[in-house]
């Protein structure tokens, strides 16, 4: 049989937000006319879906709908600092910051509405555009609540900063608290290796990742699927090459990327081990999704053909060469045995 199958697994871990240095993010919120909201913070979408995640968090905390939330972002002259879009920090740092700011704006509104209704602010619940006082038949649309609040002379605004208390590493032994939230992941890969051409096809990946709490499960899956395929690219085909510093892979004809025909079916298992520190329990997924894929695939290649790939990428050429070395070693061993 020229084509051989195998399976491998690998685990991994990752720290959430900036490494070995304190991390912080700020947000301003206003519950606005019409029962809408403005959420203003300093980063924007890089594709991971953070704007939707922030709108979901704000909607849940303020008692309105995600489509009622306008996220004002991305402008150092108009928004508070939220620092960079990276380090798997957006849902954790900015999500938690948005939640805290929303709670402050909501408290301002609830205080006015409790006074207006003559109830206890603690009994108020807002959800999906409606405000209710528990144990009473008092209710109104959030649109009206904002209107009443403003007529009482109060604009329901909030501001918050969320901090991750990380410390630097000791210069001698590296001890320290580089993160306060860690995530873990594990993936299984199934491959088919063509022993004639050396081509490896990854047919399935099962990816289990702890994300703390999944704000948008489909978005989490998107991050896992994208991370797996990006890692598979590095594992099997991508290779930026230079000769004496001159790039010899300057375009997509030479720098080979995974296409629709190269990708496995990915099965995502979302594990939720809530972060005990932040107000939402969320952690993150962007970067850790990539970590176990390559070793899982290399372990699967070993399972299929008995060749251990230690130099990336595992191109068809390198697989064929490794199989050749394995055959030579086996022949030599047989000769010695005889």
């Amino acid at each position: 049989m020229a084509r051989k199958r195998g399976r491998g697994m690998a685990a991994g871990w990752y720290g959430i937000a900036r490494t070995a240095s304190i991390d912080r993010a700020g947000t301003w919120v206003e519950l606005d006319d019409g029962g809408t909201a403005k959420v203003v913070t300093g980063v924007t979408e890089i594709g991971e879906g953070i704007l939707t995640v922030l709108a979901q968090i704000a909607a849940e905390e303020l008692g309105i709908r995600p489509e009622d939330v306008t996220v004002g972002d991305n402008d150092t002259a108009r928004v508070p600092e939220a620092a960079h879009a990276g380090a798997t920090r957006q849902t954790y740092m900015i999500g938690n910051s948005v939640a805290l700011a929303c709670r402050e704006a909501r408290a301002r509104l609830f205080d006015e509405m409790a006074a207006h209704w003559g109830t206890d602010a603690a009994s108020l619940r807002a959800h999906n555009g409606t405000l209710r006082a528990e144990g009473t038949n008092l209710k109104c649309a959030m649109r009206e609540a904002v209107d009443i609040c403003k007529k009482r002379g109060v604009v329901p605004v909030g501001a918050a900063s969320f901090t991750a208390h990380h410390t630097g590493l000791d210069a001698a032994d590296g001890s320290g608290r580089p993160w306060q939230a860690y995530v873990f992941g594990c993936q299984v890969a199934e491959v088919e290796v063509d022993t004639v051409t050396g081509e490896v096809q990854v047919l399935g990946v099962w990816a289990a990742h702890d994300v703390g709490r999944a704000v948008n499960p489909k978005g989490v899956e998107g991050q896992i699927e994208g991370g797996v395929v990006q890692a598979l690219g590095q594992g099997l085909m991508e290779h930026y090459q230079t000769v004496d510093g001159h790039t010899v892979t300057p375009g997509f004809a030479k720098y080979i990327l995974p296409t629709a025909l190269d990708v496995p079916q990915v099965t995502c298992v979302i594990v939720e081990d809530p972060d005990p520190i932040g107000p939402l329990g969320v952690k993150g997924i962007g970067e850790p999704a990539m970590v176990p894929t390559i070793p899982a695939v290399m372990n699967a290649i070993y399972d299929a053909i008995g060749v251990r790939i230690t130099t990336l990428p595992a191109t068809p050429e390198s697989i064929v060469a490794a199989l050749g070395r394995k055959r030579q070693a086996e022949t030599a061993a047989q000769a010695r045995a005889q």
């Binding site: 972002d73 990276g86 608290r177 860690y182 992941g185 047919l203 290779h239 594990v271 053909i305």
Partner: protein, 628 residues
């Protein structure tokens, strides 16, 4: 060659134009008609972001000379849905969560539409084949396949149109519900404007002169002839930097443009702002640079040797940073081991390959605030650095993060925003720079290549007694994120395992290679690849199932990490169980048992790709019956 005249129908409107012969259909659409839904990703027909219909045929408009569409009927992504509405394909992309950064999505929507027009009942495998000419870097394609299958089923009547609607709330909460992405409509229609899609009145176009040498002293730099050219507004070099010249995430070792010396091929030397790109490109050829070529060093281990060429005066040993981690006593740990495994690993430099090449638009606003729009992943830090570089108060520098067409860490470095700011200040006009794909690949940061030597000791029962790891990362010519990358690489190197004795050293090294920087998983992908390979080698030696080996070593709540931090929670056992269960893993030691496994080719796998054999695959029977 004289200009050519053409008449063409674009999205139902007939136009007459006189165009230069080099103009591509993509330029006509984007620059003349402002139909920026068609994106430029590669300029070479390789990525599909510029896909349009010409007389109903799906084509890549970057490969079509504008003059060739004389008399043709062109449809762009803007034509698919009536104004403000979405087509079924677009709604399916929205529902399925198929767009992430969105830059490839208009092209994907066009390819999907073409596929469904040619075969309304195409099978799942044919979907993949039909999308094979369009690259997506974010999604891993899964949700895109889901979207096309959903559109097919709705169009065929297999699923109701309500399948495209928002889902019900899960447990009454917006958190935990897969709310459709709020930004998706702007992405599936191509309405969202990335930095390279933006224009302002009076805007100038920028091109950058780059070093052809990996390591050289700049003896002289003469821009006078280029500056005198008709249409050239200004040229900036290092001499135009008014403040403290230097940027970098951890050490500000990189000048906005080369200052007296170049350290890698492609390093920026000068930037030209001109009325159009052709003039700017011609001006580059008129800039005279005299170099004194220096020996270069291209291997990080060689760069650490005494006598190696030195890149930066402040780092005579070419060392960016060394991160040591020590816990317990590794020699005692190896002495107590029953099995010791040693191996070396190498990983390569990798390109981020976001589909949106770097682009930016800068101007000075009426209040004297220098404003830069760019897909920067770190506007906060860029503002700090640019304020120092321009010697302006921090509130006179404004960084606006335009929609990012893929980042993955590659857009954290401020590699071109400084040039744009200087040109905006010098010309008083808006300036725009858009990288070519070749510029983006050749001159921006990569994932660090790494060379890792690993020694692991284990007891017979599988417990790791000691791990010793040494990793050398090639940082390339400038520091960028190297210090952070090797720090994260070190902290996570040992893996999520409770190991009593650990010795880890990571080194970031300067060489004359393309700089390495931040890339998704940031230095830890390299070391964890080695750790997880080592563990399978150990599992084979010890005759243990690889899940079981990891369970025996798993970090649990209450354990301390390699950096001696006590963990209050740890979910490794949960994710091990999750993956093992979902994959229906057949237990056993990893002894090359692929041929005898019983858990292969089941649920969760796709059929292997056998090119050309797949168009024959019919629509799954159940679906075909329902359609009938």
């Amino acid at each position: 060659m004289p200009d050519l005249s053409l008449s063409v129908t674009v999205n139902g409107r007939t136009l007459h134009r006189t165009v230069p012969p080099h103009l591509r259909l993509l330029d006509l659409l984007r620059e003349d008609l402002h139909l920026t839904g068609s994106k430029e990703g590669c300029g070479a027909g390789e990525c599909g972001t510029c896909s349009v219909f010409v007389d109903g045929v799906l084509l890549k408009s970057c490969l079509v000379p504008a003059a060739k569409v004389d008399g043709a009927d062109v449809e762009t992504v803007e034509s698919l849905g009536p104004r403000g509405a979405l087509s079924v394909v677009q709604r399916a992309f929205h529902k399925a969560g198929a767009s992430q950064c969105g830059y490839c999505i208009p092209g994907m929507v066009m390819a999907a539409t073409a596929a469904l027009r040619s075969n309304p009942r195409l099978g799942d495998e044919e979907i993949k084949e039909r999308l094979g000419g369009n690259i997506c870097r974010c999604t891993g394609y899964q949700k895109i396949f889901d979207a096309v299958a959903l559109a097919r089923d709705v169009l065929c009547g297999v699923r109701p149109a309500s399948a495209l609607d928002e889902e019900e709330l899960k447990d009454g909460s917006f958190i935990g519900t897969s709310v459709r992405r709020l930004d998706a409509p702007s992405k599936v229609t191509g309405a969202l404007r990335y930095a390279g899609d933006m224009t302002l009145p009076g805007m100038l176009h920028v091109k950058v002169l780059r070093s052809p040498h990996a390591h050289a002293v700049i003896r002289s730099l003469d821009t006078s002839e280029a500056e005198a050219m008709d249409g050239v507004a200004a040229i900036v070099t290092a001499a135009d930097v008014p403040g403290k010249d230097g940027f970098g995430v951890f050490v500000r070792d990189q000048p906005v443009m080369a200052r007296g010396k170049v350290r890698y091929v492609g390093e920026a030397i000068a930037a030209v702002a001109a009325e159009d790109l052709v003039t700017a490109t011609r001006a580059l050829a008129k800039i005279k640079v005299a170099y004194e070529i220096l020996p270069g060093v291209f291997d990080p281990d060689a760069a650490l040797m005494p006598g190696a060429p030195v890149l930066h005066d402040y780092a005579a040993d070419n060392l960016v940073k060394h991160i040591p981690i020590r816990k317990g006593d590794v020699e005692a740990g190896f002495a107590a081991a029953d099995v010791i495994i040693e191996e070396c690993f190498e990983t390569q430099q990798v390109e981020h390959a976001y589909l949106e090449p770097e682009a930016g638009l800068a101007y000075v606003d009426p209040d004297g605030v220098v404003t830069v729009h760019s897909p920067s992943q770190n506007i906060t830090h860029h503002r700090h650095m640019l304020s120092d570089i321009l010697a302006l108060p921090i509130n006179k520098v404004r960084m606006i993060m335009s929609p990012v067409g893929g980042g993955f860490g590659g857009k954290e470095d401020m590699i071109y925003q400084g040039m744009l700011a200087l040109l905006a200040m010098k010309t008083g006009q808006p300036v725009r720079l858009v990288f070519t794909r070749e510029e983006s690949v050749s001159t921006t940061a990569k994932r660090h290549s790494a060379r890792i030597s690993y020694r692991m000791g284990l007891a017979r029962d599988g417990r790791i007694t000691a791990s010793e790891i040494r990793a050398v990362y090639d940082g390339g010519a400038y520091g960028m994120s190297t210090e952070g990358v090797i720090r994260k690489g070190a902290i996570l190197a040992g893996g999520p395992y409770a190991i009593p004795n650990v010795k880890i050293d990571t080194y970031g090294v300067y060489t004359n290679n393309t700089p390495s920087g931040a890339f998704r998983s940031f230095g830890s992908l390299q070391t964890q690849f080695a750790t997880e390979s080592m563990l399978d080698m150990a599992a084979e030696r010890l005759g243990l199932d690889p899940f079981e080996l990891r369970r025996r070593n798993a970090m649990r709540a209450g354990d301390t990490t390699h950096t001696q931090q006590r963990l209050d929670s740890a979910s490794l056992l949960d994710v091990l169980a999750g993956a093992e269960g979902a994959a229906r893993w057949e237990r056993g030691a990893p002894v090359v048992r692929g041929a005898v496994r019983g858990d292969l080719a089941g649920e969760g796998t796709r059929p292997p790709c056998r090119l050309g054999a797949r168009f024959a695959a019919p629509v799954p029977e159940a679906q075909a019956e329902e359609v009938a």
